[in-house]
Protein backbone atom coordinates (compact mmCIF):
# COMPACT_ATOMS: atom_id res chain seq x y z
CA UNK A 1 0.00 0.00 0.00
CA UNK A 2 1.34 3.34 -1.02
CA UNK A 3 0.46 6.28 1.20
CA UNK A 4 0.98 9.56 -0.59
CA UNK A 5 -0.18 13.16 -0.37
CA UNK A 6 -3.69 13.82 -1.61
CA UNK A 7 -3.55 15.83 -4.81
CA UNK A 8 -6.79 17.66 -4.05
CA UNK A 9 -5.47 19.01 -0.74
CA UNK A 10 -3.19 22.02 -0.53
CA UNK A 11 0.00 21.36 1.43
CA UNK A 12 -0.54 23.74 4.32
CA UNK A 13 -1.30 24.02 8.04
CA UNK A 14 -5.01 24.38 8.74
CA UNK A 15 -6.63 26.72 11.26
CA UNK A 16 -8.66 23.90 12.77
CA UNK A 17 -8.41 23.07 16.48
CA UNK A 18 -6.85 19.84 17.74
CA UNK A 19 -9.43 17.07 17.62
CA UNK A 20 -11.69 18.85 15.13
CA UNK A 21 -13.34 16.64 12.52
CA UNK A 22 -13.06 19.06 9.61
CA UNK A 23 -9.50 18.00 8.77
CA UNK A 24 -10.59 14.37 8.43
CA UNK A 25 -13.60 15.24 6.33
CA UNK A 26 -11.58 17.56 4.06
CA UNK A 27 -9.14 14.72 3.53
CA UNK A 28 -11.91 12.25 2.71
CA UNK A 29 -13.51 14.61 0.19
CA UNK A 30 -10.09 15.23 -1.37
CA UNK A 31 -9.35 11.52 -1.61
CA UNK A 32 -12.67 10.91 -3.33
CA UNK A 33 -12.07 13.74 -5.83
CA UNK A 34 -8.65 12.24 -6.55
CA UNK A 35 -9.96 8.72 -6.96
CA UNK A 36 -12.77 9.81 -9.25
CA UNK A 37 -10.32 11.99 -11.16
CA UNK A 38 -12.62 15.02 -11.07
CA UNK A 39 -10.58 17.61 -9.17
CA UNK A 40 -10.08 19.74 -12.25
CA UNK A 41 -13.78 19.60 -13.05
CA UNK A 42 -14.89 20.46 -9.56
CA UNK A 43 -16.40 23.68 -8.26
CA UNK A 44 -17.02 23.75 -4.52
CA UNK A 45 -18.77 26.21 -2.28
CA UNK A 46 -17.32 27.36 1.02
CA UNK A 47 -19.78 28.07 3.83
CA UNK A 48 -19.84 30.60 6.62
CA UNK A 49 -18.65 28.87 9.76
CA UNK A 50 -15.45 27.09 10.71
CA UNK A 51 -14.94 25.84 7.16
CA UNK A 52 -15.14 29.33 5.65
CA UNK A 53 -11.48 29.06 4.71
CA UNK A 54 -12.15 25.82 2.82
CA UNK A 55 -10.48 27.36 -0.23
CA UNK A 56 -7.19 27.56 1.62
CA UNK A 57 -7.14 23.78 1.82
CA UNK A 58 -8.81 22.39 -1.29
CA UNK A 59 -7.10 22.48 -4.66
CA UNK A 60 -10.14 23.17 -6.86
CA UNK A 61 -12.27 26.13 -7.93
CA UNK A 62 -14.19 27.46 -4.95
CA UNK A 63 -16.78 30.13 -4.34
CA UNK A 64 -17.29 31.39 -0.83
CA UNK A 65 -20.99 31.97 -0.22
CA UNK A 66 -23.08 34.04 2.11
CA UNK A 67 -24.23 32.20 5.23
CA UNK A 68 -26.54 29.35 4.29
CA UNK A 69 -26.82 30.21 0.61
CA UNK A 70 -24.52 27.54 -0.83
CA UNK A 71 -27.34 25.34 -2.21
CA UNK A 72 -28.73 28.29 -4.20
CA UNK A 73 -25.28 29.23 -5.50
CA UNK A 74 -24.53 25.60 -6.36
CA UNK A 75 -27.90 25.28 -8.11
CA UNK A 76 -26.98 28.00 -10.58
CA UNK A 77 -23.44 26.73 -11.15
CA UNK A 78 -24.50 23.14 -11.77
CA UNK A 79 -27.39 24.14 -14.05
CA UNK A 80 -25.02 26.23 -16.15
CA UNK A 81 -22.12 23.80 -16.05
CA UNK A 82 -23.77 20.36 -15.95
CA UNK A 83 -20.54 18.61 -16.98
CA UNK A 84 -18.70 19.91 -13.94
CA UNK A 85 -18.83 18.45 -10.44
CA UNK A 86 -20.41 20.83 -7.94
CA UNK A 87 -20.53 20.28 -4.20
CA UNK A 88 -21.34 22.32 -1.14
CA UNK A 89 -19.52 21.94 2.15
CA UNK A 90 -21.69 23.23 4.97
CA UNK A 91 -21.95 23.23 8.73
CA UNK A 92 -25.07 22.80 10.82
CA UNK A 93 -25.78 26.50 11.30
CA UNK A 94 -25.22 27.18 7.62
CA UNK A 95 -27.29 24.28 6.33
CA UNK A 96 -29.96 23.72 8.96
CA UNK A 97 -30.59 27.16 10.48
CA UNK A 98 -30.04 30.19 8.26
CA UNK A 99 -29.93 28.18 5.05
CA UNK A 100 -32.75 25.72 5.71
CA UNK A 101 -34.95 27.17 2.98
CA UNK A 102 -32.17 26.92 0.40
CA UNK A 103 -31.38 23.38 1.57
CA UNK A 104 -34.94 22.10 1.38
CA UNK A 105 -35.67 23.66 -1.98
CA UNK A 106 -32.43 22.63 -3.67
CA UNK A 107 -33.06 19.11 -2.35
CA UNK A 108 -36.66 19.08 -3.49
CA UNK A 109 -35.79 20.37 -6.94
CA UNK A 110 -33.49 17.40 -7.14
CA UNK A 111 -30.52 19.55 -8.07
CA UNK A 112 -27.76 17.25 -9.27
CA UNK A 113 -25.26 18.35 -6.63
CA UNK A 114 -23.49 16.78 -3.66
CA UNK A 115 -23.87 18.28 -0.21
CA UNK A 116 -21.34 17.53 2.51
CA UNK A 117 -23.07 18.46 5.76
CA UNK A 118 -20.83 18.59 8.82
CA UNK A 119 -22.92 18.31 11.97
CA UNK A 120 -20.98 19.06 15.15
CA UNK A 121 -23.98 20.25 17.16
CA UNK A 122 -22.49 23.67 17.89
CA UNK A 123 -21.55 27.02 16.32
CA UNK A 124 -17.79 26.74 16.28
CA UNK A 125 -16.54 29.83 14.48
CA UNK A 126 -18.54 32.26 16.60
CA UNK A 127 -17.56 30.60 19.85
CA UNK A 128 -19.92 27.85 20.93
CA UNK A 129 -23.50 29.06 20.60
CA UNK A 130 -26.46 26.73 20.19
CA UNK A 131 -26.80 25.13 16.75
CA UNK A 132 -30.03 23.77 15.26
CA UNK A 133 -28.52 20.34 15.95
CA UNK A 134 -27.37 20.97 19.52
CA UNK A 135 -28.64 18.10 21.71
CA UNK A 136 -31.28 18.51 24.41
CA UNK A 137 -29.51 19.37 27.64
CA UNK A 138 -26.29 20.22 25.80
CA UNK A 139 -24.72 23.41 27.08
CA UNK A 140 -23.70 26.23 24.80
CA UNK A 141 -22.94 29.90 25.33
CA UNK A 142 -26.56 30.75 24.51
CA UNK A 143 -28.06 27.79 26.40
CA UNK A 144 -26.09 27.81 29.61
CA UNK A 145 -28.78 25.78 31.36
CA UNK A 146 -28.73 23.25 28.53
CA UNK A 147 -30.78 23.21 25.38
CA UNK A 148 -34.49 22.71 25.85
CA UNK A 149 -34.95 24.61 29.07
CA UNK A 150 -35.93 27.87 27.39
CA UNK A 151 -38.10 26.79 24.50
CA UNK A 152 -35.22 26.07 22.13
CA UNK A 153 -36.96 22.94 20.95
CA UNK A 154 -35.26 19.64 20.17
CA UNK A 155 -32.43 19.27 17.62
CA UNK A 156 -33.36 19.23 13.95
CA UNK A 157 -32.73 15.92 12.22
CA UNK A 158 -31.90 16.90 8.70
CA UNK A 159 -31.64 13.47 7.06
CA UNK A 160 -35.03 12.49 8.48
CA UNK A 161 -36.53 15.79 7.37
CA UNK A 162 -35.20 15.65 3.82
CA UNK A 163 -36.14 12.01 3.44
CA UNK A 164 -39.77 13.18 3.18
CA UNK A 165 -39.02 14.96 -0.08
CA UNK A 166 -39.68 13.07 -3.29
CA UNK A 167 -37.04 15.05 -5.17
CA UNK A 168 -34.15 13.73 -3.09
CA UNK A 169 -31.94 10.88 -4.31
CA UNK A 170 -29.53 9.96 -1.55
CA UNK A 171 -29.23 10.72 2.16
CA UNK A 172 -26.84 9.06 4.52
CA UNK A 173 -25.67 9.92 8.01
CA UNK A 174 -22.15 8.87 8.97
CA UNK A 175 -19.59 9.84 11.62
CA UNK A 176 -15.85 10.39 11.91
CA UNK A 177 -15.36 9.48 15.56
CA UNK A 178 -13.27 6.35 14.87
CA UNK A 179 -11.44 4.58 12.06
CA UNK A 180 -14.29 2.26 11.18
CA UNK A 181 -16.68 5.15 10.80
CA UNK A 182 -14.14 7.19 8.85
CA UNK A 183 -13.99 4.41 6.27
CA UNK A 184 -17.79 4.30 6.08
CA UNK A 185 -17.85 8.08 5.73
CA UNK A 186 -15.52 7.92 2.77
CA UNK A 187 -17.74 5.33 1.13
CA UNK A 188 -20.77 7.56 1.59
CA UNK A 189 -18.99 10.62 0.23
CA UNK A 190 -17.84 8.63 -2.76
CA UNK A 191 -21.39 7.51 -3.41
CA UNK A 192 -22.59 11.09 -3.07
CA UNK A 193 -20.20 12.20 -5.79
CA UNK A 194 -20.80 9.18 -8.01
CA UNK A 195 -24.53 9.89 -7.92
CA UNK A 196 -23.85 13.34 -9.28
CA UNK A 197 -21.43 12.17 -11.94
CA UNK A 198 -24.00 9.63 -13.07
CA UNK A 199 -26.73 12.27 -13.08
CA UNK A 200 -28.85 10.78 -10.33
CA UNK A 201 -29.73 14.00 -8.51
CA UNK A 202 -29.49 15.45 -5.04
CA UNK A 203 -27.21 13.66 -2.59
CA UNK A 204 -26.40 14.69 0.94
CA UNK A 205 -23.95 13.09 3.33
CA UNK A 206 -24.39 14.21 6.93
CA UNK A 207 -21.20 13.70 8.91
CA UNK A 208 -21.33 13.74 12.70
CA UNK A 209 -18.14 15.45 13.76
CA UNK A 210 -16.21 16.55 16.84
CA UNK A 211 -15.77 20.03 18.28
CA UNK A 212 -13.71 19.56 21.45
CA UNK A 213 -13.01 23.28 21.77
CA UNK A 214 -16.59 24.47 21.96
CA UNK A 215 -17.87 21.37 23.67
CA UNK A 216 -15.12 22.12 26.21
CA UNK A 217 -13.90 18.52 26.39
CA UNK A 218 -10.75 16.66 25.37
CA UNK A 219 -10.50 15.28 21.81
CA UNK A 220 -10.94 11.78 23.19
CA UNK A 221 -14.07 12.75 25.11
CA UNK A 222 -15.34 14.53 22.01
CA UNK A 223 -15.07 11.32 19.97
CA UNK A 224 -16.98 9.56 22.73
CA UNK A 225 -19.67 12.26 22.67
CA UNK A 226 -20.20 11.64 18.97
CA UNK A 227 -20.22 7.89 19.48
CA UNK A 228 -22.67 7.80 22.37
CA UNK A 229 -24.64 11.02 22.71
CA UNK A 230 -24.88 12.22 19.14
CA UNK A 231 -25.48 8.83 17.55
CA UNK A 232 -28.35 8.15 19.92
CA UNK A 233 -30.10 11.30 18.71
CA UNK A 234 -28.84 11.16 15.13
CA UNK A 235 -28.80 7.46 14.22
CA UNK A 236 -26.31 6.56 11.50
CA UNK A 237 -27.47 4.95 8.31
CA UNK A 238 -28.93 5.43 4.87
CA UNK A 239 -32.11 7.54 4.98
CA UNK A 240 -32.80 7.55 1.32
CA UNK A 241 -31.28 5.80 -1.62
CA UNK A 242 -33.32 6.04 -4.77
CA UNK A 243 -31.25 3.30 -6.35
CA UNK A 244 -32.16 1.07 -3.46
CA UNK A 245 -28.79 -0.64 -3.03
Amino acid sequence: MNFCRTESLIDTVTHYCPGCGHGIIHRLVAEVLDELGVREKTIATAPVGCAVLFYNYMKCDIIECAHGRSPAVATAIKRLLPENVVFTYQGDGDLAAIGMAETIHAANRGENITVIFVNNAIYGMTGGQMAPTTLLGQMSTTTEAGRGNNQEGPPIKVCELLSMLDGVTYLERVAVNDAKNVIKTKKAIRKGFLNQIEGRGFSMVEVLSMCPTDWKVSPLKAAEFVNIDMKSVFPLGVYKDEDGQ
Binding site: D61, I63, E102
Partner: protein
Protein backbone atom coordinates in the same frame (compact mmCIF):
# COMPACT_ATOMS: atom_id res chain seq x y z
CA UNK B 1 -52.41 44.88 -46.01
CA UNK B 2 -51.29 46.92 -43.07
CA UNK B 3 -48.02 48.74 -43.07
CA UNK B 4 -45.15 46.67 -41.79
CA UNK B 5 -43.73 48.12 -38.62
CA UNK B 6 -40.55 46.89 -36.98
CA UNK B 7 -41.98 47.90 -33.66
CA UNK B 8 -43.77 45.55 -31.32
CA UNK B 9 -46.12 46.37 -28.49
CA UNK B 10 -44.76 45.13 -25.18
CA UNK B 11 -45.16 45.81 -21.50
CA UNK B 12 -42.13 47.27 -19.77
CA UNK B 13 -41.52 44.04 -17.88
CA UNK B 14 -41.50 42.12 -21.16
CA UNK B 15 -39.20 44.69 -22.76
CA UNK B 16 -36.57 43.93 -20.11
CA UNK B 17 -36.77 40.24 -20.92
CA UNK B 18 -36.32 40.74 -24.66
CA UNK B 19 -33.46 43.18 -24.12
CA UNK B 20 -31.72 40.86 -21.68
CA UNK B 21 -32.01 37.84 -23.96
CA UNK B 22 -30.78 39.81 -26.95
CA UNK B 23 -27.75 40.87 -24.91
CA UNK B 24 -26.92 37.24 -24.20
CA UNK B 25 -28.42 36.88 -20.74
CA UNK B 26 -28.65 33.12 -20.24
CA UNK B 27 -29.59 32.78 -16.59
CA UNK B 28 -32.51 34.25 -14.71
CA UNK B 29 -33.68 33.52 -11.19
CA UNK B 30 -36.58 35.31 -9.60
CA UNK B 31 -39.57 35.17 -7.30
CA UNK B 32 -43.10 36.48 -7.96
CA UNK B 33 -43.99 39.92 -6.67
CA UNK B 34 -46.30 42.53 -8.17
CA UNK B 35 -45.73 44.64 -10.26
CA UNK B 36 -42.81 42.73 -11.85
CA UNK B 37 -44.48 39.33 -12.38
CA UNK B 38 -44.28 39.47 -16.16
CA UNK B 39 -40.49 39.33 -15.91
CA UNK B 40 -40.22 35.82 -14.43
CA UNK B 41 -43.30 34.68 -16.37
CA UNK B 42 -41.87 35.83 -19.66
CA UNK B 43 -38.39 34.55 -18.76
CA UNK B 44 -39.77 31.10 -17.94
CA UNK B 45 -41.21 30.95 -21.44
CA UNK B 46 -38.43 32.62 -23.41
CA UNK B 47 -35.26 31.47 -21.64
CA UNK B 48 -35.53 27.82 -22.72
CA UNK B 49 -36.05 28.99 -26.31
CA UNK B 50 -32.56 30.52 -26.31
CA UNK B 51 -30.96 27.65 -24.44
CA UNK B 52 -30.65 29.46 -21.14
CA UNK B 53 -31.62 28.56 -17.60
CA UNK B 54 -34.64 29.89 -15.73
CA UNK B 55 -35.17 29.09 -12.06
CA UNK B 56 -38.14 30.14 -9.98
CA UNK B 57 -36.35 30.48 -6.67
CA UNK B 58 -37.83 29.79 -3.25
CA UNK B 59 -37.21 33.39 -2.21
CA UNK B 60 -35.55 36.58 -3.35
CA UNK B 61 -32.69 35.63 -1.06
CA UNK B 62 -32.16 32.38 -2.95
CA UNK B 63 -32.65 34.13 -6.31
CA UNK B 64 -29.90 36.68 -5.75
CA UNK B 65 -27.57 33.95 -4.53
CA UNK B 66 -28.30 31.95 -7.67
CA UNK B 67 -27.17 35.05 -9.52
CA UNK B 68 -24.00 35.04 -7.41
CA UNK B 69 -23.33 31.49 -8.60
CA UNK B 70 -24.40 32.06 -12.20
CA UNK B 71 -22.19 35.10 -12.56
CA UNK B 72 -19.24 33.16 -11.15
CA UNK B 73 -19.46 30.87 -14.17
CA UNK B 74 -19.13 33.87 -16.48
CA UNK B 75 -22.73 33.64 -17.69
CA UNK B 76 -24.63 36.85 -18.27
CA UNK B 77 -27.38 36.76 -15.68
CA UNK B 78 -30.25 38.76 -14.30
CA UNK B 79 -32.79 38.87 -11.53
CA UNK B 80 -35.74 41.16 -11.00
CA UNK B 81 -38.05 42.05 -8.19
CA UNK B 82 -40.00 44.89 -6.65
CA UNK B 83 -39.19 46.90 -3.55
CA UNK B 84 -39.83 44.43 -0.67
CA UNK B 85 -38.09 41.72 -2.67
CA UNK B 86 -35.17 43.99 -3.45
CA UNK B 87 -34.76 44.55 0.29
CA UNK B 88 -34.40 40.79 0.67
CA UNK B 89 -31.77 40.73 -2.06
CA UNK B 90 -29.56 43.30 -0.37
CA UNK B 91 -27.39 40.74 1.41
CA UNK B 92 -26.61 39.01 -1.87
CA UNK B 93 -26.06 42.29 -3.68
CA UNK B 94 -23.40 43.25 -1.14
CA UNK B 95 -21.62 39.93 -1.73
CA UNK B 96 -21.89 40.31 -5.50
CA UNK B 97 -20.44 43.81 -5.33
CA UNK B 98 -17.69 42.61 -2.99
CA UNK B 99 -16.91 39.65 -5.25
CA UNK B 100 -16.97 42.00 -8.27
CA UNK B 101 -19.38 39.79 -10.14
CA UNK B 102 -21.29 41.27 -13.07
CA UNK B 103 -25.07 40.97 -13.12
CA UNK B 104 -28.19 42.97 -13.79
CA UNK B 105 -30.82 43.52 -11.11
CA UNK B 106 -34.13 45.15 -11.98
CA UNK B 107 -36.23 46.89 -9.35
CA UNK B 108 -39.77 47.58 -10.54
CA UNK B 109 -40.48 49.84 -7.58
CA UNK B 110 -43.75 49.86 -5.68
CA UNK B 111 -45.06 51.84 -2.74
CA UNK B 112 -43.43 51.30 0.65
CA UNK B 113 -42.27 51.07 3.37
CA UNK B 114 -43.22 47.57 4.44
CA UNK B 115 -45.61 45.74 2.20
CA UNK B 116 -46.76 49.17 1.03
CA UNK B 117 -48.90 48.86 -2.05
CA UNK B 118 -48.47 47.82 -5.67
CA UNK B 119 -48.61 51.26 -7.22
CA UNK B 120 -45.54 52.89 -8.70
CA UNK B 121 -43.08 54.64 -6.42
CA UNK B 122 -39.55 56.00 -6.33
CA UNK B 123 -39.09 55.30 -2.65
CA UNK B 124 -36.07 53.02 -3.12
CA UNK B 125 -33.76 55.75 -4.44
CA UNK B 126 -31.54 55.80 -1.36
CA UNK B 127 -31.41 52.01 -1.23
CA UNK B 128 -30.35 51.88 -4.87
CA UNK B 129 -27.77 54.66 -5.04
CA UNK B 130 -26.36 54.70 -1.52
CA UNK B 131 -25.63 51.01 -1.20
CA UNK B 132 -28.62 49.24 0.29
CA UNK B 133 -26.66 46.35 1.71
CA UNK B 134 -23.79 46.45 4.17
CA UNK B 135 -20.33 47.80 3.53
CA UNK B 136 -18.80 50.33 1.17
CA UNK B 137 -19.98 49.51 -2.30
CA UNK B 138 -21.76 51.08 -5.22
CA UNK B 139 -24.18 49.86 -7.81
CA UNK B 140 -24.38 51.42 -11.23
CA UNK B 141 -28.00 52.57 -11.26
CA UNK B 142 -29.87 53.28 -14.49
CA UNK B 143 -33.31 54.90 -14.60
CA UNK B 144 -35.15 54.62 -17.93
CA UNK B 145 -38.24 56.70 -18.58
CA UNK B 146 -39.63 55.14 -21.75
CA UNK B 147 -39.83 51.59 -22.98
CA UNK B 148 -37.47 52.09 -25.93
CA UNK B 149 -34.99 53.48 -23.43
CA UNK B 150 -35.65 50.60 -21.06
CA UNK B 151 -34.80 48.23 -23.90
CA UNK B 152 -31.56 50.00 -24.73
CA UNK B 153 -30.44 50.50 -21.13
CA UNK B 154 -31.11 46.89 -20.23
CA UNK B 155 -28.86 45.82 -23.10
CA UNK B 156 -26.24 48.35 -22.05
CA UNK B 157 -26.50 47.31 -18.41
CA UNK B 158 -24.93 43.96 -19.26
CA UNK B 159 -22.02 45.73 -20.94
CA UNK B 160 -21.41 48.16 -18.07
CA UNK B 161 -21.66 45.27 -15.67
CA UNK B 162 -19.10 43.13 -17.53
CA UNK B 163 -16.86 46.08 -18.29
CA UNK B 164 -16.60 47.27 -14.70
CA UNK B 165 -17.21 43.88 -13.06
CA UNK B 166 -19.95 45.46 -11.02
CA UNK B 167 -23.66 44.80 -10.51
CA UNK B 168 -25.96 47.16 -12.38
CA UNK B 169 -29.44 48.03 -11.21
CA UNK B 170 -32.26 49.02 -13.52
CA UNK B 171 -34.38 51.26 -11.30
CA UNK B 172 -37.85 51.30 -12.78
CA UNK B 173 -41.26 51.50 -11.21
CA UNK B 174 -44.70 49.95 -11.45
CA UNK B 175 -45.75 52.26 -14.25
CA UNK B 176 -42.72 51.52 -16.39
CA UNK B 177 -43.12 47.80 -15.78
CA UNK B 178 -46.84 47.71 -16.46
CA UNK B 179 -47.30 50.21 -19.27
CA UNK B 180 -47.26 49.07 -22.86
CA UNK B 181 -45.54 51.00 -25.63
CA UNK B 182 -44.22 50.14 -29.07
CA UNK B 183 -40.57 49.19 -29.00
CA UNK B 184 -38.20 48.37 -31.78
CA UNK B 185 -36.29 45.27 -30.72
CA UNK B 186 -32.92 46.38 -31.96
CA UNK B 187 -30.12 43.92 -32.33
CA UNK B 188 -27.61 43.96 -29.50
CA UNK B 189 -24.26 45.55 -30.15
CA UNK B 190 -21.74 45.90 -27.32
CA UNK B 191 -21.15 49.56 -26.43
CA UNK B 192 -17.71 48.86 -25.00
CA UNK B 193 -14.89 46.44 -25.70
CA UNK B 194 -15.68 43.67 -23.32
CA UNK B 195 -12.80 42.38 -21.23
CA UNK B 196 -12.00 38.69 -21.14
CA UNK B 197 -13.48 36.97 -18.10
CA UNK B 198 -10.27 35.49 -16.72
CA UNK B 199 -11.72 35.06 -13.25
CA UNK B 200 -14.57 32.66 -13.84
CA UNK B 201 -15.02 29.28 -12.15
CA UNK B 202 -15.33 26.40 -14.58
CA UNK B 203 -12.99 23.81 -13.12
CA UNK B 204 -9.23 24.28 -12.87
CA UNK B 205 -8.16 22.04 -15.74
CA UNK B 206 -4.84 23.32 -17.06
CA UNK B 207 -4.67 26.23 -14.65
CA UNK B 208 -4.40 27.02 -10.94
CA UNK B 209 -7.61 26.81 -8.95
CA UNK B 210 -9.54 30.06 -8.63
CA UNK B 211 -11.41 31.39 -5.66
CA UNK B 212 -14.24 33.88 -5.56
CA UNK B 213 -14.54 35.18 -2.05
CA UNK B 214 -15.54 38.21 -0.05
CA UNK B 215 -13.81 37.43 3.25
CA UNK B 216 -10.51 39.15 3.88
CA UNK B 217 -9.61 38.13 7.41
CA UNK B 218 -5.90 38.47 7.52
CA UNK B 219 -3.43 41.30 7.01
CA UNK B 220 -1.87 39.19 4.25
CA UNK B 221 -4.95 39.68 2.08
CA UNK B 222 -6.07 42.93 3.57
CA UNK B 223 -9.67 44.07 3.38
CA UNK B 224 -8.32 47.61 3.33
CA UNK B 225 -6.49 46.83 0.09
CA UNK B 226 -9.65 45.32 -1.38
CA UNK B 227 -11.65 48.38 -0.36
CA UNK B 228 -9.05 50.71 -1.82
CA UNK B 229 -9.30 48.76 -5.07
CA UNK B 230 -13.09 49.05 -5.05
CA UNK B 231 -12.89 52.77 -4.29
CA UNK B 232 -10.59 53.27 -7.23
CA UNK B 233 -12.98 51.37 -9.47
CA UNK B 234 -15.95 53.44 -8.31
CA UNK B 235 -13.96 56.62 -8.97
CA UNK B 236 -13.19 55.37 -12.45
CA UNK B 237 -16.86 54.62 -13.11
CA UNK B 238 -17.85 58.04 -11.79
CA UNK B 239 -15.40 59.71 -14.13
CA UNK B 240 -16.48 57.72 -17.17
CA UNK B 241 -20.19 57.22 -16.81
CA UNK B 242 -22.51 60.19 -16.59
CA UNK B 243 -25.74 59.64 -18.44
CA UNK B 244 -28.33 62.38 -18.56
CA UNK B 245 -30.79 64.15 -20.81
CA UNK B 246 -31.55 67.85 -20.99
CA UNK B 247 -34.83 69.15 -22.35
CA UNK B 248 -35.42 72.83 -23.08
CA UNK B 249 -32.68 73.91 -20.72
CA UNK B 250 -30.91 76.38 -23.08
CA UNK B 251 -32.68 79.40 -21.66
CA UNK B 252 -34.43 78.01 -18.63
CA UNK B 253 -34.82 79.83 -15.36
CA UNK B 254 -36.36 76.91 -13.57
CA UNK B 255 -34.82 73.47 -13.89
CA UNK B 256 -36.99 70.51 -13.10
CA UNK B 257 -34.83 67.68 -11.85
CA UNK B 258 -36.52 64.33 -12.15
CA UNK B 259 -35.68 60.80 -13.25
CA UNK B 260 -37.51 57.84 -14.71
CA UNK B 261 -41.28 58.03 -15.01
CA UNK B 262 -41.52 61.35 -13.17
CA UNK B 263 -39.22 62.99 -15.68
CA UNK B 264 -41.40 61.74 -18.49
CA UNK B 265 -44.50 63.24 -16.90
CA UNK B 266 -42.58 66.44 -16.14
CA UNK B 267 -41.88 66.87 -19.85
CA UNK B 268 -45.60 67.30 -20.47
CA UNK B 269 -45.75 69.85 -17.65
CA UNK B 270 -42.83 71.74 -19.15
CA UNK B 271 -44.65 72.01 -22.49
CA UNK B 272 -47.68 73.39 -20.69
CA UNK B 273 -45.48 75.86 -18.79
CA UNK B 274 -43.70 76.94 -21.97
CA UNK B 275 -47.10 77.58 -23.56
CA UNK B 276 -47.68 79.99 -20.71
CA UNK B 277 -44.37 81.72 -21.32
CA UNK B 278 -42.41 80.27 -18.43
CA UNK B 279 -38.82 79.29 -19.12
CA UNK B 280 -38.73 75.84 -17.65
CA UNK B 281 -36.45 72.97 -18.59
CA UNK B 282 -35.68 69.45 -17.49
CA UNK B 283 -32.51 67.82 -16.30
CA UNK B 284 -33.07 64.09 -16.28
CA UNK B 285 -30.28 61.92 -14.95
CA UNK B 286 -30.29 58.55 -16.70
CA UNK B 287 -27.56 57.12 -14.50
CA UNK B 288 -28.51 57.82 -10.89
CA UNK B 289 -25.17 56.53 -9.76
CA UNK B 290 -22.94 57.93 -10.95
CA UNK B 291 -24.94 61.16 -11.04
CA UNK B 292 -24.08 63.76 -13.66
CA UNK B 293 -22.89 66.30 -11.09
CA UNK B 294 -21.28 68.52 -13.71
CA UNK B 295 -24.56 68.97 -15.57
CA UNK B 296 -26.29 69.99 -12.35
CA UNK B 297 -23.53 72.45 -11.51
CA UNK B 298 -23.56 73.94 -15.01
CA UNK B 299 -27.29 74.56 -14.92
CA UNK B 300 -27.09 75.88 -11.36
CA UNK B 301 -24.89 78.65 -12.72
CA UNK B 302 -27.47 79.88 -15.23
CA UNK B 303 -30.86 78.93 -13.80
CA UNK B 304 -32.46 80.64 -10.83
CA UNK B 305 -34.01 77.65 -9.20
CA UNK B 306 -34.42 73.88 -9.26
CA UNK B 307 -37.61 71.96 -8.69
CA UNK B 308 -37.24 68.29 -7.82
CA UNK B 309 -40.19 66.07 -8.67
CA UNK B 310 -40.09 62.52 -7.37
CA UNK B 311 -42.51 59.82 -6.28
CA UNK B 312 -41.21 59.79 -2.72
CA UNK B 313 -41.11 61.94 0.39
CA UNK B 314 -37.82 63.42 -0.77
CA UNK B 315 -34.71 61.35 -1.47
CA UNK B 316 -33.31 62.34 -4.86
CA UNK B 317 -33.60 65.98 -3.73
CA UNK B 318 -30.72 65.42 -1.30
CA UNK B 319 -28.39 64.51 -4.16
CA UNK B 320 -29.64 67.46 -6.21
CA UNK B 321 -28.70 69.76 -3.34
CA UNK B 322 -25.28 68.11 -3.15
CA UNK B 323 -24.77 68.23 -6.90
CA UNK B 324 -25.66 71.93 -7.06
CA UNK B 325 -23.68 72.53 -3.87
CA UNK B 326 -26.73 74.39 -2.57
CA UNK B 327 -25.86 77.29 -4.85
CA UNK B 328 -29.48 77.73 -5.93
CA UNK B 329 -32.77 77.16 -4.11
CA UNK B 330 -34.08 73.63 -4.61
CA UNK B 331 -37.85 73.28 -4.34
CA UNK B 332 -39.63 69.98 -3.90
CA UNK B 333 -42.75 68.30 -5.22
CA UNK B 334 -43.38 64.73 -4.26
CA UNK B 335 -45.21 62.30 -2.03
CA UNK B 336 -44.46 58.80 -0.87
CA UNK B 337 -46.67 55.75 -0.84
CA UNK B 338 -47.62 55.07 -4.41
CA UNK B 339 -48.47 58.56 -5.62
CA UNK B 340 -47.70 59.82 -9.11
CA UNK B 341 -47.83 63.35 -10.46
CA UNK B 342 -49.91 64.54 -13.40
CA UNK B 343 -48.64 67.15 -15.85
CA UNK B 344 -51.29 69.49 -14.47
CA UNK B 345 -50.25 69.29 -10.86
CA UNK B 346 -46.59 69.65 -11.75
CA UNK B 347 -47.60 72.76 -13.73
CA UNK B 348 -49.40 74.07 -10.68
CA UNK B 349 -46.24 73.65 -8.64
CA UNK B 350 -44.15 75.26 -11.37
CA UNK B 351 -46.42 78.30 -11.31
CA UNK B 352 -46.11 78.50 -7.56
CA UNK B 353 -42.31 78.35 -7.38
CA UNK B 354 -41.50 80.11 -10.65
CA UNK B 355 -42.25 83.62 -9.45
CA UNK B 356 -41.20 83.25 -5.83
Amino acid sequence: MSKVSKKVLLKGNEVMVEAALSAGCRFFAGYPITPQNEVPECMSRRMPEVGGVFVQAESEVAAINMIFGASATGTRCMTSSSSPGISLKQEGISYIAAGELPCVIANVQRGGPGLGNIRASQGDYFQAVKGGGHGDYKLIVLAPSTLPELYELTQNAFDYSDYYRNPVMILGDGILGQMAEPVELKEYKPIVTLPEKDWILDGCEGRDPRVIKTLYLYPSDSLAVHNAHLKKKYEQIASELELFEEYKTEDCELVIAAYGMTARIAKAAIRLARDKGMKVGLLRPISLWPLANSAFMRLAETAKKFLVVEMSNGQFIEDVRLATECSVPVEFFGYGGGWYPTPENILERIEKVYTL
